[in-house]
């Protein structure tokens, strides 16, 4: 199980995957927006999106849980 957390304060601009989706290393899970920059959040693991903790429009803090990959 791998947790994907936010590296910075940001808005969730786009959610690319859904819970249950199969993903592999390098796939984009969500796209964050901070300070007019789009920051794709990638998975570094192969697996299934077990939990997705954010939705579009959310403001997340550094360290917040974005997704769990199993």
């Amino acid at each position: 199980m791998a947790e994907v957390r936010a590296e910075m304060v940001a808005n969730v601009w786009k959610v690319v995957v859904q819970e249950g989706d199969t993903v592999s290393d390098g796939d984009t899970l969500v796209i964050l927006e901070s300070m007019k920059m789009e920051i794709p959040v990638l998975t570094e693991d192969d697996g299934v999106v077990a939990q997705l903790k954010v939705k579009e429009g959310d403001v997340i803090q550094e360290g917040d849980l974005i997704a769990v990959i199993e």
């Binding site: 910075m8 304060v9 940001a10 808005n11 927006e33 300070m35 007019k36 920051i39």
Partner: protein
């Protein structure tokens, strides 16, 4: 008309530029009215204005980009003119028109000039027809990938792919082959669609894309122009903006250390011609790309507003560009001398990590600005303020001025070292690294410099 008729002046912007404009407005004896979002209530520009109006939530679409709210704030406060700063509504022709229609003075060029130059395809064609050199590229909007591929082979790889609207390097990338073009085209389309959404359906901004020949070893050099009501267009020297990350400027200097006097003269003349072609009024910037190997240049785009890096020009000319914008808006044609003296450099202090340049907003726990002879700091924040993720990462502009480039670099090293920012991530360590980099030190650098420092 007398300058008094412009006051009170409403500044439709935030952060460092709102603060900088407020200073000049007050110096000219006029009242300055700030507008702000809920996220910015505690910032210096709100305190320093004579009056401040809350526009709405942090989201720019509900505050700084909401034309209706800005106009309502002007009405409620009795403002007589609006200065848009840069970004937000500054290059929105429909907003400029709405300001004028509301009986207010728009401190900027005519809405028609904004519209004509705002569409990069239109601007490029207009300049080509006026005899200003442009890069080989598409004269018509590229509307699908098939057309893009065809155009790229005609121009020859590598090509630069960008959106006709928008700015700030967003959606812009280089394609070295067909596979790269597919990616670049997708990225630009996505950005174009977002701009179209953000532009609230008006103005020339649409999901159009253009392709241009990519110059490998290029410098980004721009000319400051000022169009006067008596019809003259004056060029106020150039700024070299070749230190860039993600196609966004980090450091600017004037004069450019990378062009010959002959090239400078022909660029300044072309910029004046560009301004005259659109009957330009007020402060504007003609951006060019200089091919360092061939020592020639092409027109890139025109920014119909005050530029972030305008202090560089102010330092070498001794002029106050905001004051000149106000005089021009009042119908006056001041006797502007385009002579420059010494060397000026600006460093953009961004809230971003100095290695990957990723945003790093946060609360400012310590903030101490450098001072002394030849040092100017335009900042938007102070100790205790929050740098939020809602707006661009620019916290301050550290500018130095000295008799020579070498002395300006020495002054910059000292000032960068003196500048204390704690809390948000910041790029001051990058500025220090740059100042010690032999390529930057020599002056012989191009837009690939930051990329080379990070590989």
């Amino acid at each position: 008309m007398p300058i008094e008729t412009l006051g009170p002046v409403l500044i439709a912007n935030r952060g460092e530029i709102a603060r900088r404009i407020i200073r000049t407005v007050k110096q000219m004896g006029l009242r300055a009215i700030a507008v702000h979002s809920e996220a910015d209530t505690g910032l210096p520009f709100v305190r320093e204005a004579d009056e401040a109006v809350l526009l709405g939530p942090a989201d720019p679409a509900q505050s700084y980009l909401d034309a209706g709210k800005v106009l309502e704030a002007a009405r409620a406060t009795g403002a007589k003119s609006i200065h848009p700063g840069y970004g937000f509504l500054a290059e929105n022709a429909a907003f400029a028109r709405a300001v004028i229609d509301a009986g207010l003075v728009w401190i900027g060029p005519a809405p028609e000039a904004i519209a004509r130059m705002g569409d990069k395809i239109n601007a490029r064609n207009l300049m080509e027809d006026a005899g200003v050199p442009v890069a080989a590229g598409t004269r018509e909007p590229v509307t699908d990938l098939e057309l893009a591929v065809k155009a790229a082979y005609e121009i020859g790889f590598p090509v630069m792919v960008k959106t006709a609207g928008g700015g700030g390097g967003i959606g812009m990338s280089v394609a070295h082959d067909e596979a790269g073009l597919v990616k670049a085209y997708e990225q630009a389309s996505r950005a174009a669609a977002r701009f179209a959404g953000a532009a609230t359906g008006d103005g020339p901004v649409g999901p159009a894309i253009l392709l241009e020949r990519f110059i490998e070893r290029a410098r980004h050099v721009e000319v400051q122009i000022l169009g006067l009501p008596d019809g003259r267009v004056v060029a106020l020297g150039e700024r070299d903006c070749s230190v860039q990350r993600r196609h966004q400027k980090v450091v600017e200097e004037s004069p450019s250390p990378g062009i010959t006097p002959e090239l400078r003269a022909s660029m300044l003349a072309a910029a004046v011609r560009a301004g005259e072609t659109v009957g330009y009024l007020g402060a504007g910037t003609v951006e060019c790309l200089v091919d360092t190997d061939r020592q020639d240049f092409v027109f890139l785009e025109m920014n119909t507003r005050l530029q972030v890096e305008h202090p560089v020009t102010e330092l070498v000319t001794g002029l106050d560009l905001v004051a000149l914008q106000l005089w021009v808006a009042a119908g006056e044609s001041p006797d502007v001398r385009p002579a420059t003296s010494g060397h000026a450099i600006e460093f953009r202090v961004y809230a971003e990590d100095p290695k990957r340049f990723f945003p790093g907003p946060g609360k400012i726990t310590a903030w101490r600005e450098p001072a002394g002879e030849g040092v100017r700091v335009d900042s938007g924040y102070a100790e205790g303020d929050m740098v939020t993720p809602f707006y661009d990462p620019l916290m301050a502009k550290l500018c130095v001025h000295a008799a020579t480039r070498a002395e300006a670099l020495d002054r910059a090293r000292r000032a960068v070292e003196e500048f204390v920012v704690e809390g948000p991530k910041n790029n001051l360590p990058f500025c220090a690294e740059l100042l010690d980099h032999p390529e930057f030190g020599s002056g012989d650098y191009d837009t690939g410099l930051v990329g080379r420092m990070r590989t």
